[in-house]
């Protein structure tokens, strides 16, 4: 599994194409959404979490799509499937790569978001420090599973969000609600039910992905 993880990370480090496009697309979305939701409004803390998560989700969706699409070029996927490893392991490796890429992009996107929306830096970062990795884990897991599926359809770029977003409703609702509540001064105890929901979602889709990835990639 670590070999697979390492392979993908080396490719990314050498080309930096996914990370660069992920970051730029995220920034662009922050900009466009700032036009829609006034970032100078005194009530901006109500709309800001939605803006951040929409930017992460949309740029992340195309990044996850790319990570699986890359295996299709030169038929790398067949080679990967011929390797004597459990398909579930491939799923975990791909999920881990996507998680690392998304978190790296968030590391740049979140300061920009704070900058654009003129929010207090330290407290916002502290508030996002737990929810962002947890929500991104579930997003990477469900994204990896459904990217493998949408790879085998016509119209594959549009299929991934269509398949994934309705199922990921609980994840996004929880992420946005936690971010909003924490930013308006709630403590962790008040949002613990949302945290439980995110953790449950992560567990469900790691298990479902691990069990069904085999069918999703089988020829």
């Amino acid at each position: 599994m670590f070999a697979l993880l390492w392979k993908d990370l080396v490719i990314e480090l050498r080309t930096k194409e996914t990370l660069a496009s992920l970051f730029l697309l995220g920034t662009l979305l922050l900009l466009v959404l700032s036009f829609a939701f006034d970032p100078t409004h005194p009530m901006r803390e109500q709309s800001a979490p939605g803006v951040l998560w929409v930017a992460i989700i949309f740029s992340g969706t195309s990044a996850i799509n790319r990570s699986l699409l890359r295996e299709r070029e030169n038929d790398c996927l067949s080679g990967l499937l011929l390797a004597p490893i459990d398909r579930g392991t491939i799923f975990f490796a791909k999920t881990a790569v996507n998680l690392i890429l998304l978190l790296t992009a968030e590391l740049f996107l979140i300061p920009l978001f704070i900058f654009f929306f003129n929010l207090p830096f330290v407290s916002t970062v502290v508030r996002l420090a737990v929810v962002a990795p947890l929500a991104t884990l579930g997003f990477a897991a469900i994204g990896t599973l459904f990217a493998a599926i949408s790879l085998r359809t016509r119209a594959r770029e549009i299929m991934l969000p269509l398949l994934m977003l309705p199922l990921a409703t609980p994840l996004f609702l929880a992420a946005v609600e936690i971010t909003r509540d924490l930013m308006s001064g709630a403590n962790y105890a008040q949002v613990s039910h949302w945290f439980k929901l995110i953790v449950a979602f992560d567990v469900v889709f790691l298990v479902v992905g691990w069990l069904t990835f085999e069918y999703a990639v089988a020829e």
Binding site: L145, I149, R152, P166, T169, V208
Partner: protein, 233 residues
């Protein structure tokens, strides 16, 4: 090989037609007007009757998808497709009749009440499910991938449910109005509801049978076609 019609083939359409006629008669003539809402409330019987087939259908999709992944028997796949299509149909009708009822009673076509939100999310999941089948590059693969989505959909249902309820909080006004206002104190109202539920459920079962059979025939035609092509005719 034309399958000869069985007894249930003859009974099913007759039962559907009879129960539908009975339902129409009850809804429009027999049942008294609602004390508060007037004649508008009569749509309730049809509206509620849509949800039994919808949830039965989505439940069947989850169950048969699991069985299909497990056994790889095409039979389960046919049932899953058929019930996803019908579930989506009844879900659409349920949403539509709900909107029509909501406009005069709540004064709006749509509210972001948890129940409505949940239904819309469900609708999206199963619409994507059918799209996935049609857009798969290889039909066999499409069945497998759709089955994965079918299983994920059911597993996820509880989480979606929790999320939308917490998102909106519980809106007692809407829920209480919805059930409290109908009240169904009149025995005739209860009877009408039962007849409607039965009529639409029978319709669902009948359509499901027909649709599954069509899927089997499509499979047979595909097989014959490939045999003819292989023989080089």
């Amino acid at each position: 090989m034309k399958p000869s019609p069985t007894i249930s083939d003859r009974i099913a359409p007759a039962a559907v037609i009879l129960s539908m006629m009975a339902a129409l008669y009850m809804v429009f003539i027999a049942v008294p007007n609602d004390a508060f809402q007037g004649p508008v409330q009569r749509i309730f019987y049809v509206h509620l009757a849509m949800w039994l087939p919808t949830f039965a259908a989505f439940g069947i999709v989850g169950l048969t998808s699991t069985l299909f992944l497990w056994t790889r028997n095409r039979r389960w796949d046919h049932i899953a497709t058929a019930s996803a299509e019908l579930g989506l149909l009844f879900c659409t009708l349920g949403l539509a009749t709900g909107c029509i009822w909501a406009k005069p009673i709540w004064g709006t076509w749509w509210t972001w009440d948890p129940r409505l939100t949940l239904t819309l999310v469900l609708w999206m999941i199963y619409a994507a499910y059918l799209l996935l089948r049609n857009l798969a590059t290889d039909p066999n693969q499409g069945s497998v991938m759709a089955a994965i989505l079918g299983v994920s959909g059911v597993v996820n249902l509880y989480l979606v449910n929790r999320a939308v309820y917490w998102w909106r909080g519980i809106h007692p006004a809407v829920v209480v109005t919805k059930e409290g206002e109908s009240g169904l104190t009149d025995p005739m109202m209860r009877l009408t509801l039962m007849v409607c539920l039965l009529a639409f459920f029978l319709l669902f079962v009948w359509l499901l049978r027909l649709r599954v059979r069509t899927a089997h025939l499509e499979d047979d035609v595909d097989e014959l076609r490939s045999r003819v092509l292989a023989a080089g005719v």
